[in-house]
């Protein structure tokens, strides 16, 4: 799954880093932040160790990271989840089944904060 998405983004000239759980993700983002490397975070919600909402909160609470664009990409499609993610500062929310990858790649261009690199997780 993750690799398919990575391949597709790389095919669209993105540089992609992958994390497999919430903790790994937040560490990677904080480590890279000094160089402002990431343009976009594609964030899942149901992840081991730390869920997507916590990751989202951590990023937005970090003054150095708060302008980072985050798109939530999840199988959770409840209105409550969507509202919560958007309220926490996510730029957009995609329910995985409802959007083909091509559409996500397309939207990602619109949301990236600058530069040409993205990060996908899980």
């Amino acid at each position: 799954m993750l690799n398919v998405l990575k391949d597709r983004f790389e095919a669209d000239d993105w540089e992609v880093s992958v994390a497999h759980d919430g903790e790994e993700a937040i560490q990677a983002i904080e480590k890279e932040s000094s160089k402002s490397k990431f343009d976009l975070v594609l964030l899942d919600l149901l992840m081991p160790k730390k869920d997507g909402f916590s990751v989202l909160r951590d990023i937005k609470n970090n003054p150095e990271l708060k302008n980072l664009s985050i798109i939530v990409l999840s199988n959770l499609g409840g209105d409550e989840d969507i509202k919560k993610a958007l309220a926490l500062g996510a730029k957009d929310y995609f329910v995985k089944t409802q959007h083909p990858m091509s559409e996500i790649v397309e939207k990602a261009k619109k949301y990236k904060s600058g530069g040409a690199s993205a990060k996908t997780k899980n």
Partner: protein
């Protein structure tokens, strides 16, 4: 002249005495005969009276042997006097228990008192009759018992009426007992109100469910006796309370799900109920209503558990299915190294995964609706013409696949702004337009029309279709319902599309329906309130 004045006591003159005696005798005879004549006349009068009395009268000797019977007695018993003579009244009697006759004899003979009672006898023709009997002892001047006089009054008819009444009364009592037993033992709560809404009846179960006592609520207005809320805890205004609606419309109503109405009991405990309310119609006018309700808590829980299960399952299903979708998409995207056969397989795989995703999304939507999650969120102002235009573009690829063209007609100019959720509106359009495409013959157009009326925008989707019978029409918008024809054309459908569309549209304050439904043209339509109208209204 003293010759006529005797100076001595006169001597008895025989010639003088004889005529005197004779004259006295004659006088006495005349007197006696006169007296006798008048006595005879009196007796005759009395006899005549006895004879012509319609009541039965008999006279017996001290042993009960019949000496005399009047015409009434002959008529009542069917025996004539000749037949009766030498018999006792046992001739037509003897049907009562021995105790009765024992008491009769004790009263009339030993105590010399009047005996009276109801007796059953048998006429000569064997018909039985009831009589009110009265027997008086006849006592002569010396105080000796010389016989009895007995009268009977036929009360058969009265007795029959009484018996009929008794039977009817028993039936009533039985019916009442039955009704009360049913009302008391039925698991459902039941109460009835009069036209003004005063409680006129309430069963034990309703008392228990509502937490009230019969005596405290009878004759009270039901809406003062207990309160009602919707599921979210907002009080339901009187005119919207189902009983009130039934009283004002005279139409029977039934709740579909137990979640809609909640009674608030003493101590603020809540009871979700499902009910049926039937108007009591007298001569076509509503004179009250009967409410049968049941505790819907369990039902509601089961429903909720069921929907939650569907929700969880469908979310769980989404994970592998979204992976499948993306993987097949990637395969299709990067298929240059595949053989043409493999390419075709990949294409089929894409179609299949899309269908699977569609089914799961329907399930998710359905469970959302069943869980009472609002179908509409993130409300925005949407311009209908533009929105439909954009949407149709997205659908065109699907239509082309099925060799259809979508023709968009815009009859209304100017912006048509509605306030709703894009996602929800897309879902409605998608369900209706894809139905129109799926269920109409190839190479026929699907027309989309927008119209404006009374503060609403009306969208009509028409296609050459498959005729839908009246019976089918009545179920069309029910969940999981599919017409026979639909099952043939598209076996994999679930019957949720129209149901979901209906729920969304109704939540948006609009209506959805079917226009014509013959094979020439099938028209589905829905309405949404226009923003301007909503502003004006507020």
């Amino acid at each position: 002249m003293n010759s006529f004045i005797p100076t001595q006591p006169p001597k008895m003159n025989i010639f003088f005495i004889i005529p005197a005696v004779i004259s006295i005798a004659v006088f006495l005879w005349i007197l006696i005969s006169r007296f006798k004549k008048s006595a005879d006349q009196d007796v005759k009068k009395y006899l005549l009276a006895l004879e012509s009395a319609s009541n039965h009268i008999i006279i017996t000797d001290v042993n009960g042997m019949i000496l005399y019977a009047n015409k009434g007695a002959e008529k009542m018993t069917g025996y004539n006097l000749e037949e009766m003579k030498g018999n006792t009244p046992r001739l037509w009697g003897g049907l009562m228990p021995g105790e009765f006759y024992k008491k009769l004899w004790q009263t009339k003979k030993d105590k010399l008192q009047v005996f009276s009672g109801e007796i059953k006898n048998r006429r000569k023709n064997q018909d039985e009759y009831f009589a009110l009997m009265r027997i008086s002892p006849i006592i002569d001047q010396k105080g000796n018992l010389t016989g009895f006089v007995s009268t009977e009054e036929d009360i058969t008819e009265r007795k029959q009426k009484e018996e009929e009444l008794r039977v009817e009364k028993n039936k009533l009592v039985e019916a009442k007992a039955k009704n009360e037993a049913i009302l008391a033992s039925m698991g459902d709560g039941l109460f009835a109100v009069d036209r003004e809404g005063r409680v006129i009846m309430i069963n034990a179960q309703a008392e228990r469910l509502l937490g009230v006592l019969k005596n405290n609520v009878l004759d009270k207005y039901y809406y003062e006796a207990w309160h009602m809320e919707n599921e979210k805890g907002a009080a339901i205004p009187l005119e919207k309370r189902p009983v009130q609606v039934v009283l004002s419309t005279g139409k029977r109503t039934e709740t579909m799900t137990p979640a809609d109405y909640v009674y608030v009991r003493k101590g603020d405990t809540r009871l979700a109920v499902a009910f049926t309310i039937t108007p009591i119609l007298v001569g076509g006018a509503v004179s009250g209503a009967v409410v049968v309700f049941r505790d819907g808590t369990m039902e509601k829980e089961i429903d909720r558990a069921k929907s939650e299960f569907i929700s969880i399952v469908s979310h769980q299903l989404r994970t592998p299915v979204s992976g499948l979708g993306w993987l097949t998409e990637e395969l299709e995207f990067d298929s240059k190294n595949l053989t043409s056969k493999q390419k075709k397989y990949v294409k089929d795989l894409v179609t299949l995964s899309k269908r699977l995703i569609g089914l799961i999304e329907d399930l998710v939507n359905f469970s959302k609706i069943e869980l009472k999650t609002p179908a509409i969120s993130e409300i925005k102002s949407i311009e209908i013409n533009d929105f439909i235009g954009e949407f149709v573009k997205e659908m065109e690829a699907y239509a082309a696949l099925k060799k259809h063209t979508i023709i968009l007609k815009k009859e209304v100019s100017g912006p048509l702004i509605v306030e709703t959720s894009e996602k929800a509106l897309s879902k409605v359009l998608q369900n209706l337009i894809s139905n129109a495409i799926d269920y109409s013959p190839k190479n026929t157009p699907v027309m989309i029309n927008a119209d404006k009326a009374d503060g609403f925008v009306k969208i009509l989707i028409s296609s050459k279709g498959t005729a839908i019978s009246k019976e089918e029409q009545s179920h069309l918008f029910e969940k999981f319902y599919r017409t026979e024809e639909a099952k043939k054309i598209k076996p994999e459908g679930m019957g949720l599309g129209l149901y979901i569309a209906k729920v969304i549209i109704e939540e948006a304050g609009g209506k959805v329906g079917l226009g014509s439904a013959d094979s020439e043209e099938v028209v589905f339509w829905f309405t949404i309130p226009l923003k301007e109208a909503m502003i004006n209204k507020n």
